[in-house]
Amino acid sequence: MGNFSEQSYRSNRQSFTDTGNVQDLLSHWSDRGFQGLTFVAALITAAVPFWMSALIFQQAQPAIAKFGLSFLWTQDWNVDQNIFGALPYIYGTLVSSAIALVIALPIGVAVAIITSEDVFPSWLQSPIAVVVELIAAIPSVIVGLWGRFILIPALAPLQEFLFGHFKWLPIFNTQPFGPSMLMAGIVLAIMILPTIAAISREVLRAISQDLRNGAFALGSTQWETIWHITLPAAASGIFGGASLALGRALGETMAVTMVIGNVTGIDVSLLSPGNTIPALLANQFSEATDPVHIGALMYLALVLFLVTLTVNALAVVMVRFLTRHA
């Protein structure tokens, strides 16, 4: 049935050449026009990513010409002297996303297991899945508002505890005062949790029941089956979901900028404030006037776009490949 359009076309064309009927002629041309219209719309939509990258690349030229690739590993960001280096922001983006992934992955997989395997009554499974998935619907700026006024004060004891007992570890050796890289990581973890949970759930559900039954027949308990059979079989799909979530975390802006403190510089301690590429863009773009400054921000946006594209393209390929072979 795949070539229904061609068939109906041919028949339309046939009839109008045969009879010369005006109505058929009109119908033929309106069909042609309609198809052409949808084609043009699809072309425009598909062209937007090219337009976007070309435009950002072009606008970044003043900074690309001035700093070249060394932009990526220099540390100064001085608006007055027009010297720009992206390393602190790249570092902050990667570290906050990594923290988020470390926290959200086990929790997301746990939610996926609880909501797909038979360890929990099924009438409770979908409400739990819905509650977790609804987090994704909350606007980022509201997560940030909540993070800033509720979560940071609530987790102040945790930060104090980490500093008090683990300050011999370089990652906890600064006095916390609220906003920090760790808080950004936790807020990001909350925001990517729905992605990880939903995709892991799909992957677990796609795994053949035969595998589980085989394990049960050999005397495995429910949890042994999950741990030794189901999870390993789902691992690569879950990994794909985690990559998609990572792509989201890298580009997340509002919630991060509201809890990370927006301090430029690289500090290994997770309890000290930091900055990320999206957070810097959000804070500086509206005030940037110098072409080199705007160019440097565009350059950052370009780097961010390319990194998230790579991560997402890999994830999409991985998830597609796996679901095709599941």
């Binding site: 795949g2 229904f4 359009s5 109906s8 339309n12 119908s27 033929h28 309106s30 026009g33 309609f34 198809q35 949808t38 084609f39 719309a41 425009i44 939509t45 062209a47 937007v48 990513p49 090219f50 976007m52 950002i56 606008q59 086990p106 746990a110 939610v111 609880i114 360890v119 739990i128 819905v130 609804l134 987090i135 909350i138 606007p139 700026v141 509201i142 997560v143 940030g144 508002l145 909540w146 800033r148 006024f149 509720i150 308990t221 042994e224 890298l250 580009g251 509002m254 509201m258 863009l281 959000a282 773009f285 565009m298 946006a301 961010l304 776009f305 998230t308 594209l309 997402n312 999409v316």
Partner: protein, 288 residues
């Protein structure tokens, strides 16, 4: 008989108990954020959600005990979401029609799908940067139109991909029946396919609108913000989301409170749309 009911060996029991405990506590932890967020938004926002907020302008920073509101931000959000929908809904639905009705499994359509999924993965701040480069820089000014344009780019991939899924669910027999009755492609698609998929397209549109209404990153340096009434589509405009961002960072408690009140409206709208599409419209679809 006793052997049948032999308890599991101790290591197995410990393993089971430990994994159950870990999984249940982690999953329980996952339920906390949503309820915690809704609770704080409700308790902190409701007291400040008076009738004034819908009719008054924001009070100047630091002024106490005078009427305070964000009517201009409500108007700005509505206007920019309308601009975004006006661009993205027709374009996205036509794109979806091409992909599902004409492009189908061809390599060309697959490449288009991949490009659209790339667009949907673009960080919203990058979309803002794009709109800044396309509209704000050439026209030398922040504008509600630039904000609406940015929102349309956010909505476009959502609308295209979800509408295509909806169209693909329409049974092919209905297209054939329509063709057999003499309807051409344009007529079949508009009168049969689109009509049949209408409830799911409506759901998609609502979800995309809800998503756009909450977006902040694409608006902060395209539409900027304004303390005053909207004067022109080509001038800067307030919006609920940017108001929350600006007022959350404000040192003045009145402005913080207003941010919470705006959060109630935004979250209420977003959750309402989501739950509506999840339960009501999906049920209706199943009933068809």
């Amino acid at each position: 008989m006793s052997q049948l009911f032999d308890p599991l060996p101790l290591p197995k029991r410990i393993f089971n108990a430990a994994l159950s405990a870990i999984a249940f506590s982690l999953a329980a932890l996952a339920l906390v954020p949503l309820f915690a967020m809704l609770w704080s938004i409700f308790t902190k926002g409701m007291p400040h959600l008076t009738g004034d907020v819908f009719t008054q302008l924001p009070a100047p920073a630091g002024m106490k005990d005078i009427v305070n509101g964000f009517a201009n931000a409500v108007i700005g959000t509505l206007l920019m979401v309308a601009i975004g929908s006006g661009i993205s809904l027709p374009l996205g639905i036509l794109t979806a029609i091409f992909l599902s009705e004409f492009g189908k499994k061809t390599a060309f359509a697959e490449v288009m799908r991949f490009l659209i999924s790339i667009l949907s993965a673009a960080p919203s701040i990058v979309v803002g940067v794009f709109a800044y480069g396309v509209i704000v820089l050439p026209l030398k000014g922040f504008s509600a139109f630039a904000g609406g344009f940015a929102l349309s780019i956010i909505m476009l991939p959502i609308v295209s991909l979800a509408t295509e899924e909806a169209l693909k669910l329409v049974p092919n027999s209905q297209r054939l029946a329509s063709a057999a009755l003499g309807a051409g492609l344009a007529r079949t698609t508009s009168r049969v396919v689109l009509a049949r998929a209408f409830p799911s397209i409506l759901t998609t549109a609502l979800l995309a609108i809800a998503r756009a209404a909450g977006e902040t990153a694409p608006l902060i340096f395209t539409a900027l913000f304004s303390q005053n009434w909207l004067e022109s589509v080509m001038g800067p405009s307030a919006s609920l989301s940017v108001l929350i961002f600006n007022y959350a960072n404000s040192p003045f408690i009145e402005q913080n409170n207003l941010a919470w009140a705006a959060a109630v409206i935004l979250v209420g709208m977003v959750l309402f749309t989501n739950l509506l599409s999840r339960f009501v419209i999906r049920k209706r679809l199943q009933a068809w």
